[in-house]
Each structure stands twice: as C-alpha cells, then as structure tokens.
C-alpha cells in the first residue's frame, strides 16, 4: 500500500516492484471485468455492468412505448401517479424495469399504494391502480394507450405491504 519512495524528499517518488505489481494487476482486473460486463454481462454486474444506456436500436418505422400509472382515489377522482423520486419516491424508469413482474403479479401495485401513503400522506389515498402503456408510432405520431395491470388496493387508507419477496429471492 505504502508507496516505496526511492529518494525521500527528492522530486521523484518511485514505487517498489510489489507496489507496481499490485497496481498493474488491479488495472488488468478492473479493465477486464468492465469489458466483460459490457460484452457478456448484465445490469446485475454494476459497477461493471454494460454501458448500455441508449445502446438499443429503435426502428425508424417503429413505436415508442411509455409507461404511465393512473389511480382512482378514495375521493372518486382519477389521477396520474407521480412516478418520480421527488414525489412518490420511485422513478418511471424503475417501474418500466419491473413492468414484467408487475404484469405477472399485479399485487406489487399494493406496494405503490403503501409508498404513496408513506411519501404523500396529504394526498387522497389510492383505491385502484392501473399500469398503462402508451405506444406512439414514430412515422405517424399516432398514440394508443392500453392497460397492462389493474389492482384493487387492500385497505386503501392504511394499506399493508404485499409481502412479495424482493432482492435475490424475487429475482
């Protein structure tokens, strides 16, 4: 760890052979791992995961999908769920990443109701939550919206978490 100085107090600090060796070995390990992360890895490899933001291809005649979440409140009003870290505490992109899980098990939307009560308790509670997708055609600009998942919140005013496992167990 300690730099092995050749001439202490002089202008040149030279490292000894072992100090050089562990540094070069670290460089090789880091560069190899981060390259493999992009070539064969996935997001789970972070911080060595693929540098994949905007790396996917979109066809010029394709569609742009954009997820939204709407809710019916206990006051009978339909509102847009504010998917952001500042508001409800989770981003739209994070919900998009978990959309397959939510579609497979809409009970996960119960936890969005829980999060909403924790983070925005002054707002009317959610009774029903819909996960929706808006598809916009690139050449025509026409947009169509479809509902991907629906959940009737259990005990809307004081909702309990779903208890569905997260982390490794839920992977």
């Amino acid at each position: 760890m300690t730099a092995m100085w050749g001439r202490r107090g002089a202008s040149q600090g030279t490292l000894g052979p072992y100090a050089v060796l562990w540094r070069l070995a670290t460089t090789a390990a880091v560069v190899t791992t981060v390259c493999l992360g992009t070539w064969v890895g996935d997001d789970q490899w972070w911080p060595f995961g693929p540098m994949s933001q905007y790396a996917f291809s979109v066809r010029n005649d394709g569609v742009i999908n954009s997820l939204t979440m709407d809710a019916l409140t206990v006051d009978g009003e339909v509102v847009r769920v504010p998917l952001s870290k500042e508001m409800i505490g989770i981003e739209r992109s994070e919900i998009e990443g978990q959309a397959p899980r939510i579609i497979a098990d809409p009970a996960l939307l119960q936890d969005l109701a829980v999060l909403h009560r924790r983070r925005l308790p002054h707002e009317a509670a959610y009774r029903t939550i819909w996960l929706r997708n808006t598809s916009t055609s690139i050449p025509t600009g026409n947009a169509t919206t479809s509902t991907l998942a629906t959940w009737q919140v259990l005990d809307p005013l004081d909702p309990a978490p779903s208890g569905i496992p997260g982390g490794e167990d839920g992977r």
Partner: protein
Amino acid sequence: MNAVERFLAPAMPLARVAWLRHIIYPFVLLDVLWIVTDPIPHGDVPPSLYRSLVVRDVLHLPAPSHAYVRVLLGVIVVSALVAATGRLPRLAGWVCAVGMLDWVSNAFAYSKVDHDHFALVLALFVLPTAGRARVADVDVRSQAAGWAIRMVQVGAVCIYWLSASAKMRFGGWGWANGATLIWALTRRPNGIGPWVGSHPALTHALQWVVLVAEFCSPVLLWLRGRALYAGLAFWAGFHLSTYLMLKIHFLPLVVCLLSFLPLERLPRPARRRRVESARPRAASEELSSAR
C-alpha cells in the same frame, strides 16, 4: 513490462492528486445531495420492489430502510468533507468510497441502472492509494500519484469505448441509422430537442458522430497538448448538448475528465501560499518551486 509500467504508473505531480481531491470530494457532496438523491426515498419503498445487485449481495449490504439511508448520507458527507481538505486521505477516502458504493448501488437496485458513475466510483477507490498530497507538491512526482490519475483516466475512457461496444451488442451495426435519439427526444423533450428530433437525417448524423467518437476515445490516453484539449472540449460539448436536449448531463463522468488536465498548474490558494512563504527556508525540504 517497463513500457506498461511507464504507461499505467508514470511519475506525475502529487499536486494533481491534491487538486483532484479538492474537486472530486466536493463533487461527491453535490452528487448525493442533488444528482443521485434516490436512496433517501428508496428508504421508504417496500422491500418487494428492491431488486438488489450482485455487489450488494457480496458485501452483505442490507435492503435500504428509512433510518439506514439517512445514517449513510451522514457518513458520506462527513468523510467527503474531511477527504476534500486532504486530511486523512486514506481513512476518509476509503470510508467515502465504500459509502458511495453503497449509496449509488442503492440508487440502481430498483431495476434502473445508469453507467455514468463507473469512473467516479473507481476514482474514489484509487485516490486514497496515493497517500498524502498537497497542491504545493507541484515538483514532487510520484508513481503512486501517476497510477491513481491514470486509473481515473482509464475509467473515463472505458465508459466511452464500452458505450460504443454496448451499442454494437444491443443495438447492432444499424444503431447509428436507427431512431434511438428520436426515441430519447420524444420521451425527454427539452430546449431544442424537439426541433432536432423532427429532422431524422440530423439525428442519424449525430448518432454517427457519437459512435465514431466513442470508438476513438482511447486515443485520449495518448494525446498531449492541444490535441488532448480538443478531445476534451469535444466531450464537454457532447455532454452539454445532451443536457440541453435531454437534461442528461453525465457530470460524474465529466468531473473525472479533469484528471486529463494539468491541474497542478492552477494557482494555489493565496492564504496557503502566504503561510508557506512565511516558513523559514530550513524548515522545508521541498524544491523552491513547490513553495
């Protein structure tokens, strides 16, 4: 071996490490308080939506909770403040590095992973290895400093070059002729973004420029003088334009690009210079130009 050693661990001024610490650790404060602020609200998210990451499982980092994320924020802020002064460079530096690994991996443990933090996290782990460094150490060259600086540079270049590689892996060779930029501009319109998005030929040209530049980015490690400054100016302009069009800034990477600059030539703070010049000559073993 010698050529590799000269390339990856050249003797460089300790002053550049000192300046990088004065820049990067304050940036960490900016990062946790303004850019990557997700971990605080994540403390309230029920565990079902927590997806974790391999690095968190390996280090046994717990699922975030309301109190945990606040304590972690305090640890990062204190360690970054101490490390920014140059004191306790190893202890404060590594506490800050591990704290940021926990913080940023928390932000990315809910199914959305960004790749703008690789070079910054790497910088936080290598900067402590250079030991004590002062901005006055302009003529004190050290291989330990050179390796730390080179690693930050390599980390930045890895982000660019591997971004191009990822485009070939996930988008295929037709990526540059596709509509990825239009897709991004549609979802995050800002400033002149919608106008650019309405000109498909322009978006294709921009995509080609980005792809070629990313593939060529490793030359930054060899460029010197004006050519290096031109390369850095290109990337600064690139990040500015993505911010203006998409509100995506990649600042954690931009701050690491500063490691390419001769920061040691920056004027030293006046107060410190006065204190040093008042010191009796015999009390210092540094070269005269370091005072």
